[in-house]
Amino acid sequence: MSQFPTISSDPPRSYPQLVAVYGFLPNLFRAQSALPRAVEAEHQLIDAVVVRQGRLSRDQKGALLKGVASVRDNDYCRALFGHALPAVPDCNSALFDFSLKLAKHGPWVSKHDVVTLKNSGFDETGILEAVVTTGIGHMLCTLADGLNPRLDAELRSPAPGELLNIPEPLSWPEIPEAHLGLPPDSATGSPAYAVLREQYGFVPNLYQVQSALPALLGAEVRLLEAVLFSEDGLSRLQKECILLTISAANLNTYCTTLQSQVLNILGIPPEESGRIVEDHRTGSISETDQALLDECRKLASLPRGASKRFEPERLRAQGFAEPRIIEAVVVAGLANLLNTLQAGVRAVPDFPPGRVFGPKDLYPFSGKSRPISDAIPSEDPDAAIVARVQKGDIDVFEELVRRHSRRVFGALAGLVGNIDDARDATQEVFLKAFENIGRFQGRSKFSTWLISIAINTGTELLRQRKPSESLAEMEDDEGFRPRQVQKWEDNPEQMCSASEVNDLVREAVLRLPEKYRVAVLLRDINQLSTEEAAAALDLSIPALKARVLRGRLMLRESLAPHFIRTEKPDA
């Protein structure tokens, strides 16, 4: 049912309740049977937030969960959520859009997004329910990513993932502003607050913001007790380090600050926490714990797309027993839940942050650029040279320029449309890469990282152009349908000279809307794999495929008049 055996002979008490929710006991929870308290706490949270009728209906919350599973491209959870709520709910589009943005682009969620939701008729309690539901979606998807449960016999394989329209975020919320007001502090004497005070010495703002929903707060604290505060598997220190690593990967300033404070109490000095935040492999932690953090970091909710899969066998090789590995996955799920909560409610920091994340952490060269993806580990033919450059051997960088200048130029020429600009920009790309090569951590191929820089550089160049110089693009995708349906010649490229074909292709590519142009450039001209192109553009694989297909169809439409078969007149 999973790559993890069912271990406990003492089934969690919540199994009957889970059966009541789903009609059977999903493998996702069976796979955690070694941690019965965690399963019970997860069920209590699901019950408090999703099952109970609140400001949002159960159908609305089910729609949000399914949206998160689609964002995460998680087939198990799409099937599970679809089974629990098979009807297609009529979900308010503002609510759904907010949740999708929170799920995919959490750090970009701003007060403006919350105000938009309020203007659509949702009060703060309803918004909080939407935020927590989205967080639970992330938590369950993280569990499914890490535990890899087999699809239950009761579940139907989900249909191919629908393409969600999630706009790329335009601006990072520069001024952190609480999204929700602090409710009257009615929970002061509650058991949940008592636990939080005992553990933290105070009640963090992230929990105070939620005190208007005591059942939710109580369930969250029980989850903390079951997963984080208990110390019968992984140590508290290990678990807090997982939380810190994932919070940093998710660019969550608040949670990173809180985790660093907790680690300080546990004896880890701030400078060591700071090293873990920047790159957990540079700290003074053991090789075993580095492997633990390496694997857990893969479960972070940001970035996603073509991220490498969690590898339990690596942890087994380091001596971690099955319950510890399962616990690590559960802690990662908790981290993504808390990070999503904070991204949605934006609680005011309890301490001055030691590290404030910003857009440059996504892409170090521009405040407006799209996130860089550094998330495809594989054999990288450039790795040895990159390592030498990072150690100060400047001269070998020349080999990297020589290897990749054609590919970088190709992407830029197709994007900006002007050979001279593309040549200058190619140089800029390599200079930026050299200046920032110390930050390249090898979690993607160097070539993919370089192409990300090229795309961002080219996009910036387009933005700087005056409107009069902008490219005359084809109509966008809305309503696009293939119109040319006549047969083409068998060898269309032979109908005109090579230079004429080049001119036709260049003109057709440059007329494509930018998002399709870039996708086609990377796949068909730069010959990147689907996974590499998705990573370079920080798109999910289905989203990349959809753009490539639409771009190819638009190109086909442009080229068709030149290559369709002309019927020969009868003799």
Binding site: R423, Q427, V485, Q486, K487, I525, T530
Partner: protein
């Protein structure tokens, strides 16, 4: 059987030869019956071939040397 709209939404993996056996069977069932989609598949394949082989955004070989030279010169200048 798939409609043309469904076919056009799904045939990307088919032309990249990455479709699952199930999806492939569904698409081919539709293709067998639909002349219009046959034309679209054939011409999209030819489009990809033309674009891939066109070399319209290729950097001339001699330009590689000048880019390498300029980039390394600027890097070394900064380093000193």
């Amino acid at each position: 059987m798939l409609s043309c709209v469904e076919f056009l939404a799904e045939f990307g993996d088919y032309i990249d030869e990455a479709a699952s056996p199930d999806l492939r069977a569904h698409l081919e069932e539709h293709l067998h019956e639909c002349k219009t989609c046959q034309v679209i598949v054939d011409s999209t394949r030819k489009t990809i071939q033309i674009v891939t082989e066109s070399g319209c955004f290729t950097l001339p070989a001699h330009a590689v040397d000048s880019i390498v030279s300029e980039v390394m010169s600027r890097i070394r200048h900064k380093a000193t």
